[in-house]
């Protein structure tokens, strides 16, 4: 149940993000939508590795094979990669927005610019 709730809240953030991308014309707002969508997907990824009562996946001496009740660490590793990629893309997108502003003197997608 917790996993489903976790996954659904992540996916609802994705929906909010997609709504923003589709309805806004301001580039900064579109990028905010993109970032919301990305955060939602990241939460969804983490949710897929989670289950109720799972422990932090660090092996110590007090654990034996039968008491190891770990959450799956691999989605966490994937999310770290995805966060870094998201940071890079957002930084690049903001730079492009700055360029766009210098050329067009506004930051909105209008029908006249390709």
């Amino acid at each position: 149940m917790e996993t489903i709730l976790f996954a659904l809240s992540g996916l609802s953030l994705v929906m909010v993000g997609i709504f923003g991308i589709l309805t806004k014309k301001n580039i900064i707002k579109i990028l905010l939508g993109l970032n919301l969508m990305e955060t939602g997907i990241n939460l969804f990824v983490v949710a897929m590795g989670f289950f109720k009562g799972g422990k932090t996946p660090i092996i110590t001496e007090s654990f034996t094979a039968s008491t190891m009740h770990f959450v799956d660490p691999l989605p966490h590793a994937l999310v770290l990669t995805s966060i870094v990629i998201g940071l890079g893309t957002t930084a690049l997108a903001l730079t492009l927005t700055l360029n766009y502003f210098r050329e067009h003197k506004h930051i909105e997608f209008r029908g006249d610019n390709a």
């Binding site: 990824v45 997108a93 766009y100």
Partner: protein
């Protein structure tokens, strides 16, 4: 011995050294990036005979599948990697005349080439995602670096659309992982218990970014802005390199992951049907858009979408003939698009115009480039004697043999080809029309030699299709028998390098 990793290590080393070397010598970036592509070509050709005898897998860091990442070196993947490096090298040669580019441009370009080669080689879906993002970020920056006022607009539109599709790919990856616990394509191909609806959703999410890169309908709307913004060499690379890599990944995912013996089985059939339908629509929309477009770069970009539509139909048909046709078309499209973009770049440079309609009579001053343009156009069109002819012929032959939905795909290809023929003839004719254009004729040695070479590449397989025979046969055999070939070699680590 992880020697084949060098194919990715050459360009990656160049990427790290370029910022250092540029401090001392401004032309270092261009020199080192070209050297790394040349090293990739030479090493690839050196490996090729032994790979043709038997495919090999490279296990990275001694973590055997399903835990680690592996690269798969086969006639198909190695052949396309050599094609990608050669395309990058030739594009750089055609651009030698242009002295104004900074070290950063070459750094990003080499990163883009490395990511494209990595996408073709890797056997792990998350690694595929990482390569896709590396290539993507490099392309966004390179489009904006095109020094065109439209660069940032086109690049932003491409960035937003590409990010949405690659996030959906991440969702697809994690759905597959949550159901199976593995990310390795070879292990997944043997998985038996996916629900068909779930499998279709996961596969479609996984394929989205590659459909975007190959400009398939409805993910083709970025083409106009991005091609308008990019400079000619990078526009050629988006057609020649990125689309080739995306086509290779689609072939690998559709035919290996979605083969009938795997858990994705029935979903694989639905994905193939989807590719036939979307490919057919893309041919019509791409060629139709190119037909009405007046901007030179945009026309060529839309025509590239049309060509990738034919390739998608071929992948969807997935028969022996269709796949042989697809391989011919990939080679033909890469060589022809580089040739056409280099002519377009030369003509815009000498005339200062962006629309092909304004270049009336330029072929009377520059007859060789204009004639080579007509040759490249005929190759895309599929005139006999060019490799494009065999590609289209094999895909159509297979479509007519299958019947049903494939008829619609074949009809779309034939109708699209008519449009393609008309606008390419119109452009070629415009170049030779009588006009009062007066330009001083200059010599561009860096244009002529690579352009003649590309024309030879288009002609040779067209006249003698048997020179590509061993490669095409080995690749088609590999793609159609994934379990006994691809999966078996990776899981037993057979022929590990």
């Amino acid at each position: 011995m992880n020697n084949a990793l060098l194919l990715l290590a050459f360009p990656l080393t160049a990427v790290f050294l370029i910022p250092v070397g540029t401090v001392f010598y401004k032309g270092f970036g261009r020199f080192l990036s070209m050297l790394s592509y040349l090293a990739g070509i030479v090493y690839g050709i050196y490996l090729f005979p032994s790979i043709l005898a038997g495919s090999k897998t490279v296990i990275v860091g001694n973590w055997a599948p399903p835990f680690g990442i592996n690269l798969f070196i086969s006639p198909f993947s190695l052949g396309l990697v050599i094609l990608i490096f050669s395309a990058a090298f030739i594009i750089m040669v055609t651009d030698l005349q242009n002295k104004g580019k900074s070290g950063q441009y070459y750094l990003l370009y080499t990163l883009f080439v490395m990511a494209s080669a990595g996408m073709v080689l890797t056997g792990d879906i998350f690694n595929l995602f990482v390569f896709l993002e590396i290539g993507g970020i490099a392309s966004f920056a390179l489009i904006a670096a095109g020094a065109s006022p439209m660069g940032s607009a086109g690049s932003l539109r491409y960035l937003i659309q590409a990010q949405i599709t690659s996030l959906s790919m991440l969702a697809g990856i994690i759905l597959i992982y949550s159901a199976s616990g593995v990310l390795n394509i070879a292990v997944l191909a043997q998985f038996k218990t996916f629900n068909p609806a779930f499998a279709f959703l996961a596969l479609a999410l996984l394929l989205f970014p590659f459909m975007l890169e190959s400009k398939l309908f409805p993910l083709h709307t970025w083409v106009g802005g991005a091609y308008l913004g990019a400079d000619h060499p990078f526009a050629a690379s988006m057609s020649g390199i990125a689309a080739t890599a995306a086509g290779a990944v689609m072939l690998r995912i559709v035919l290996t992951l979605a083969n009938p013996q795997s858990g994705f089985g029935t979903a694989g059939k639905s994905i193939q049907t989807m590719l036939i339908i979307l490919g057919g629509i893309t041919v019509l929309i791409g060629e139709g858009a190119a037909f009405t477009e007046k901007n030179f770069k945009k026309t060529l970009g839309y025509s590239s979408a049309g060509q990738m539509g034919i390739i998608a139909v071929g992948i969807g048909l997935a028969t022996k003939d269709a796949l042989a046709g697809v391989l011919f078309l990939i080679l033909n499209h890469t060589a022809a698009k580089i040739l056409l973009f280099s002519v377009a770049g030369l003509f815009s440079k000498v005339s200062g115009k962006e629309k092909w309609a304004d270049m009336k009579g330029i072929g009377r001053i520059y007859p060789l480039p204009a004639a080579l343009f007509a040759a490249g156009a005929m190759a895309l069109f599929g005139i006999p004697m060019f490799s494009g002819f065999w590609g289209k012929l094999y895909v159509l032959k297979s479509a007519f043999a299958l019947g049903g939905l494939a008829y619609a795909g074949a009809g779309a290809i034939l109708l699209g080809t008519i449009f393609e023929g008309i606008y390419f003839m119109k452009i070629s004719h415009t170049f030779f029309e009588k006009s009062d254009i007066s330009l001083e004729r200059k010599h561009y040695p860096f244009f002529g030699i690579p352009a003649l070479f590309l024309a030879a590449v288009l002609l040779a397989p067209g006249l003698f299709p048997s020179i590509l025979g061993p490669w095409v046969q080995a690749s088609v055999k590999e793609l159609l028998n994934p379990i006994s070939g691809y999966v078996h070699i990776i899981l037993t680590s057979g022929g590990a390098m």
